[in-house]
């Protein structure tokens, strides 16, 4: 799995080229890489949209922003991916021992789960003989409620297949995990900026 150092520095709140932050991230990565047990599960489903939401594999998800994002798609991938519970345990350990290392570890794992999702997308694409995808769109993003997490995990049988569960508050556990809808396109669309549909314009991480 690719370790994107500059993304890790960005997630840590460092400036581009911050060498102190980079060294911190590298040390954290060395401690974490053997704790990663990345697993994913996905289904390719038919989808259709209306103004308020998306019908995906027979389940309706309310989110106008998601609907707008994948309105041109007839099919979409429903994906769940996780770095596994050992990473969470290691991150807690690192935070107790050294808060700077703990924060760096969080940032490294945020970068790793994104890399893993990218790689999983590429694998899915090649399994299907070459697919084109919209950007991933996840519950908790824009107007899509986290309350939909349990239904997504049930649709993917994610607890049994990859050990991914959801807490009472709609959080994924293990923490370093992602669920997402990925619209399948005919390949003619322009590349997008992953932050453009988001209304949180004060976000520290906005590109």
């Amino acid at each position: 799995m690719r370790y994107d150092r500059s993304e890790a520095i960005r997630y840590m709140g460092g400036r581009a080229g911050d060498e102190n932050a980079g060294v911190l991230a590298d040390l954290a990565y060395l401690k974490l890489r053997n704790e990663v047990q990345a697993r994913s599960v996905y289904r390719v489903l038919d989808c259709s949209v209306d103004a308020d939401g998306v019908l995906l594999g027979g389940e309706y998800f309310k989110s106008a922003k998601l609907a707008a994002h994948i309105k041109s798609c007839k099919r979409a991938v429903l994906l769940a991916a996780t770095l596994g519970p050992k990473v969470d345990i290691a991150l807690r350990r690192m935070s107790v021992a050294n808060i700077a290392e703990g924060a760096a570890g969080q940032a490294v794992c945020a970068a790793l789960i994104e890399s893993y999702c990218d790689e999983t997308e590429a694998k899915i694409s090649s399994e299907y003989g070459g697919l084109h995808f919209k950007l991933r769109f996840s519950p908790g993003y824009a107007d899509w409620s986290l309350a939909d997490q349990p239904r997504i995990l049930t649709m993917l049988d994610a607890a049994k297949r990859i050990g991914l569960t959801v807490t009472a508050g709609g959080m994924l556990a293990p923490v370093k995990s992602v669920t997402a809808v990925i619209g399948i396109t005919d390949g003619c669309e322009k590349p997008q900026n992953s932050c453009e549909t988001c209304e949180n314009t004060n976000c520290l991480y906005r590109k």
């Binding site: 911190l24 350990r93 050294n98 700077a100 908790g140 807490t167």
Partner: protein
Amino acid sequence: MLFKDLLGKKTLFFDGAMGTMLQAAGLKPGELPELWNFTHADEVEKIHAAYLNAGADIIKTNTFGANRLKFAGTDIKTADVVTQAVKIAKKPCANKPGSFVALDLGPTGKLLAPYGDLPFEEAVSIYAEIVTAGVAAGADLILIETMSDTYEMKAALLAAKENSDLPVVCTMTLDEDGKLLTGGDITAAAIMLEGLGADAIGFNCGLGPAQMQKLLPQLLAATPLPAVLNPNAGLPKEVNGQTVFDVDADEFAALMYDMAKDGVLAVMGGCCGTTPAHIATLVNKCKQIVPQSRDCDLTAVAAYGSAVVIGNKPVIIGERINPTGKPRLKQAILDGDYDYICRLGLEQIDSGAAILDVNVGVPGIEEPAVSAEAVQRLQAITSVPLQIDTSNYDAMAGSLRLYNGKPLLNSVCGKEESLAKVLPLVKKYGAAVVALTLDDNGIPETAEGRIAIAEKIIARAAEYGIAKRNIIVDPLALTISTGGDNAKVDLQVLRELTKRGIKTVMGVSNISFGLPARDAVNSAFFVLAMEAGLSCAIINPQSTAMMGAYYAYGALSGLDEGCKAYVAKFADAAQPKAAPAQTAEYTLYDAIVKGLREQSEKAVKAQLAQKQPLEIINVEMIPALDYVGNGFEKHTLFLPQLLMSAEAAKAAFNVIRDKMAAEGGSRCNGVKVVLATVKGDIHDIGKNIVKVLFENYGYQVIDLGKDVPPEKIVEAAVKHNAAVVGLSALMTTTVGAMEETIKALRAAGSFKIICGGAVLTQDYADSIGADFYAPNAVSAVNYANSLQ
């Protein structure tokens, strides 16, 4: 005949997949299979009958996911589902004598706290509900299956044992490397399950027969219990978005026969992708095989990672989490500073401890609660096994119960009261136990006397069904300063017990009590003890002399093949570190500003020789922290540097606190801050950063952790008379819990409430009634400082 009478005597056969068959009959993805017990009872019964006709002896009820979490928000009652499922399974079994109904318990679908948010006792209660209904409905045995988390397995097995007398079969799901999801190995899981009273142990799901064949030897070596295998029909493959299994009935049976032919499997069957055809072929091919019993002399303990085997080469048990003679730890226990306890644990692991002793016995505390909390906090950050060390029976029971894995208990002794109170706990929770060679008459002076007590404890343990291999005897080191023969007696006991195949443990450093230069005596005695057969040593792994002796003994005795461990310890330690060599000495102020942890420790030690702690804090440390905090707020420096500086300051404060605790003082400013991530939220890095900053400024922080319900926050704020309460929430779904918490706090007293978290804004914080919105950690501390 009962299942228990046949188990291990005759090869028994489980049925195959239920889910696969239900899907073939029309079950849709996402639909709850357990509801078919009501809507399609005839289809479910047909599947059971097909497996019985194929030759299966044991039918799994259609209850894999039947638990109250799955049915939450519906009218469905778990007990009704279970009762109905058992009823359906019993019907076809009635026509086949010698067939059995297994009450099927699958995973809850949740991660247990502290790894997720399902409390351990809640998990036990969820399983207890299923077990109670299944027993009442007439199940013949309980099958706990498809488990990939030792903690959840423990909850299910405890519930089964506490609510029924039925035999229990446990099968776990592994990856191809033979690991559970949390990293546990087969040995760790097997010794835990055996200890808790499982009747048969094995694997199911996840893998096909070929992959399980590679892992089976580990199971057979870990436990003498009958082995069970219910593989999938091969590894799952994705074809056009569908999951398929491609090992057919003949290949499946042939692979199973190859594994089972020497009688190592007591029970066989199938999981995902297997059909009545698979089971029929399997039964035909394997029914003549007679299972063989096995011996097992393994002594091992484990948490949820790799098992630690006792008896091959000496094992280091870290002794530092014990407040005797340690004022700083004593204070941390009184203050509920579990992070300090955790750091003591991590330091010892880094130094080579394979097991951590955990003793939190301080007068005036609720030891059962504190011990259980310490065990959970340590288990949240490390999978190294723990030795639960207490003389308080309630603390023993509570900590053993909550412990994730097979624990080591310290200790039982030959006194009647101890035997009667401790051994039942050892049995129930499947612990290995340290046996002290003393009794109501004290410590015998002779080796023979101590060996006699050891044998008495072993015999009494056997009456409870505790195997000799789970008793680890401590010959008790008494100081040579009061008795010249004391070391000799210990070595004699160690040699004799080793000859009898009994494992041993000893607190080595007691041998030098009252003498100067104790390390010299301790390390020499340690080598003699290892040579006499000592299996485990309770020592300080941060003592250079002791660890030197340990690694040198390994190299000299041939236990450390090719001196690999010795070289790794000492040659690698001498390598230059990644950080650039420091050419200049830094002042404490500069070391903190630049975020240099080691320099900062060094500088503060030098200053403490000349100055008072308070002067150092006020003249150098606080100004350095202020400088960094201001820079962060003005965006001239950024979060990574802020954190490195905070960490450097923390390291210096730790040096100061050690000194002040030893002198009976405290650097705390007397102002208490309660911090928590609110209920429903399990993200705590932000809260942890705030905590470090508060502590650096001298506040006493009561850290309640993550996913904390409002009432617990209120209780702590009132109890500690907190000046400030800091609440953190990361997600939109949990800011509601923050509002609820604020309301409860307002009703309970007058606290200044700070809110923070990624999705929070000033407007939102105002609308829920917070006193202050902290966009970052520095602003939170600045606000608290402004109140003083």
